[in-house]
Symmetry: C2
Subunit: 444 residues, 2 copies
């Protein structure tokens, strides 16, 4: 006999974990589609040369890579951005631009397993490719906003910055050559504080104390969007790049406000830098009001050229990625996940052994009305069946013995309150359908 | 520069191919859930020992198998049944029985690529585990029936048989030892005809001409369900196993009829055998009325013991699998697929460069009413924008220049008929929302 087990760093999803995951993916899909993003998929396996050297040394090392049956050197995708670049280079002639796509799919990284980190996880990306227009940036902010609301969060902040603001300042300070090191130091601001960041800027980037202070002065600008924009205007004056960046931030915040996004849900935050060289304009991070310490749950930004490794065609774009695992962890911690292991609301015990056809008919009527209904398959003792229903989290049970069925009615049991009512099954179970709707509405 | 290309046998899904695929998966998910099946997922990679020797020599050979970074011998799953067996053995104590799950996921087989066959494809399975009750068989038939209707097929037949009928007959004929060879021959009946099947039964299974004729007599029983059941009663009389099988077929057809399934959509077909040793009771195949030659689009059956390789606990069950690729090919051939590459119905050209905020507001209002809306990101010439809309398959376009916006109205253009109408934007765009709904309803 073989021991049933999963590989280290991999996991099974039981229904209780899979249902909220499916719902989250469905919500993301709906919001993406509402803005005209279309789905794509790409193969799990790519030629290794497509994937190698596109992320970091670390992603190369972590890649699941092997020789296939035809001795091709292949790898499993470690993100959805590299496959998108290959895909866009290959198909952009057919697709045309602007091209708006979402891609929700599994990726693999052989990293050392640790709490909350797995070797197989899902990414949930959307991007607009082939346009430099700031409208795409504005819509990206709106998608993130709508997405957080649709998932069920009231309190959250999309933090927005523009890389050109910082680039402009670094140019002004003659630090443009050292931007990678400066950004890397700046990214640690929330973690290690301004003094240590200043020290790192001086050590790693060779900045003077005065230069480091200027960069930190930028990062520490706070207040309302208007206040931040005024402060930036002054700090950045004279740098064309910086002024462009501030102008874009101004237009973006005005447009999202006009589209109905409240000021507390979209804030300029000049301290966010989002890693190294990839982003070139608008950048986003998103924090939960009730759980900011979990980190950004939706991040992204604008890039100049997606696919320069595979094509000469310039493909500028902007996109973001929803952090599914992080969000699910947050929702669990905040008690926002239902503790159920069935997608059905209605439980129909197989109470009277002779009445199967009646049960099948009731179940069909309720499904026709849009309910999910599970009929227990065996005529076991009612108590045993109801215990099963309780454990799985059904909302109501329909108890109908031969006596009830002879009178064309049933007992409708609210499994939360324990209340029971006698309901008629006449007229296509119309009364039952209404009564179930009421219980479900009250419990929602 | 690296040539952007996919591996042989793998494919990209562009939006036009991905959208119907997503819709089909969503439909399957909805129907499965309506019967209380819950989603699960398992890892792509399993220990090779979990996967090896579970299918055939062929699946072993076709498996993508390699050493991971920790020198573990791992493989990519080639179906969803073997992972389900491992999963059930590992978790059934937590899950409890009966356990109803669906699993919609990608699998990999390194077979020689040929037309319509890929090395990466999706399976879409549902199973009820841990009960021998025929209610689960009946519900499996009902799920398949509801699924075909929900996908949009009116004309189809679920063909049902019971392996015990044939086993009973083979016992009666003293051919029980040779059932594998007999079944293998019988499976070819539709392809090669009765004479060649009889010859193969004699050659491969050592059956006499008379025995082969008896088996073929069974397979050739036709007519209505009642006629078939009467004929089977006679042929099988005296075999306990055979009588059980006929009894189950009778109960299943009566129950599905009572649940509202028309007789032409569920028929007994004693000629279907579904491969070799795995199935032990009810078996299903499903054929499209307009395209039967494409083969079964949803198949499955009952098995005695799912996971005997991984656990001592007996886990009987029944399930079936929707053939997504085959169905999509059929839908394409039958002209049932919409030729669109956008999930949005409404196209909003960025007509007047100064009016971005108005467009963002209109788009938000329409999204709030449930429409999917794409705003073009650049203020290009209107003709160019409308050409883009045409190519993607939007249904309506909203044209609003500065003059229209000043009067708080817009032109609503039906992109199919070419008709335009002037519509007010007052009251949260109420008139526009109604007018779009009407056009979409008429075009559906």
């Amino acid at each position: 006999m073989i021991q049933p087990r999963t590989l280290k760093g991999f996991r099974d999803y039981l229904p209780g974990a899979m249902m909220p995951r499916e719902e989250l993916v469905n919500t993301a899909r709906k919001v993406y589609r509402s803005y005209g993003f279309a789905p794509i998929d790409t193969p799990t396996l790519e030629y290794a040369e497509i994937l190698l050297g596109k992320g970091s040394d670390e992603t190369d090392r972590q890649m699941f890579r092997f020789q296939d049956q035809g001795n091709r050197d292949v790898g499993m995708r470690f993100d959805l951005t590299v496959p998108l670049a290959r895909f866009a280079a290959q198909h952009i002639g057919t697709l045309g631009t602007p091209f708006k796509r979402y891609h929700i799919a599994t990726v693999w990284r052989g990293e050392a397993p640790q709490r909350g980190r797995y070797r197989e996880f899902m990414q949930c990306d959307f991007d607009t490719i082939g346009t430099k227009s700031l409208v795409a940036d504005i819509e990206t902010a709106l998608v993130i906003h709508d997405l957080m609301l649709a998932i069920g969060f009231e309190s959250f902040t999309v933090r927005v910055n523009n890389r050109q603001v910082l680039s402009g300042l670094l140019e002004k300070l003659d630090l443009a050559e050292k931007s990678t090191e400066i950004l890397r130091a700046l990214d640690k601001l929330a973690k290690i504080g301004p003094e240590k960041v200043a020290a790192e800027m001086q050590e790693a980037a060779g900045a003077s104390a005065e230069q480091a202070a200027q960069v930190l002065k930028l990062a520490e600008i706070g207040g309302s969007s208007d206040e931040i924009l005024s402060a930036l205007d002054k700090l950045i004056a004279g740098s064309e790049k910086g002024e462009t960046g501030v102008g874009q931030l101004r237009e973006l915040t005005q447009a999202t406000a006009a589209a109905g996004v409240p000021a507390d849900r979209l804030q300029i935050d000049v301290s966010i830098a989002r890693g190294l060289d990839y982003y070139t304009g608008t950048i986003f991070e998103t924090f939960l009001g009730e759980l900011p310490e979990i980190g950004s749950v939706c991040s992204g930004g604008r890039y100049n050229d997606l696919a320069s490794l595979y094509t000469n065609q310039e493909l500028p774009g902007i996109g973001a990625s929803l952090g599914l695992d992080r969000l699910l962890a947050a929702m669990e911690e905040l008690g926002k996940l239902e503790q159920r292991t069935t997608p059905a609301e209605v439980f129909l015990p197989y109470f009277d052994a002779q009445s199967l056809q009646s049960y099948l008919k009731i179940a069909a009527q309720l499904r026709g009305a849009g309910f999910n209904v599970e009929l227990y398959p065996e005529a076991k003792k009612l108590g045993q069946q109801l215990k099963y229903a309780d454990r799985r989290g059904f909302k109501v049970a329909i108890v109908a013995g031969d006596r009830e069925l002879a009178e064309n009615n049933c007992q409708l049991k609210d499994l939360k309150s324990g209340d029971s009512q006698t309901v008629s099954l006449a007229n296509g179970a119309a009364e039952l359908i209404t009564a179930i709707s009421e219980i479900l509405r009250d419990s929602a």
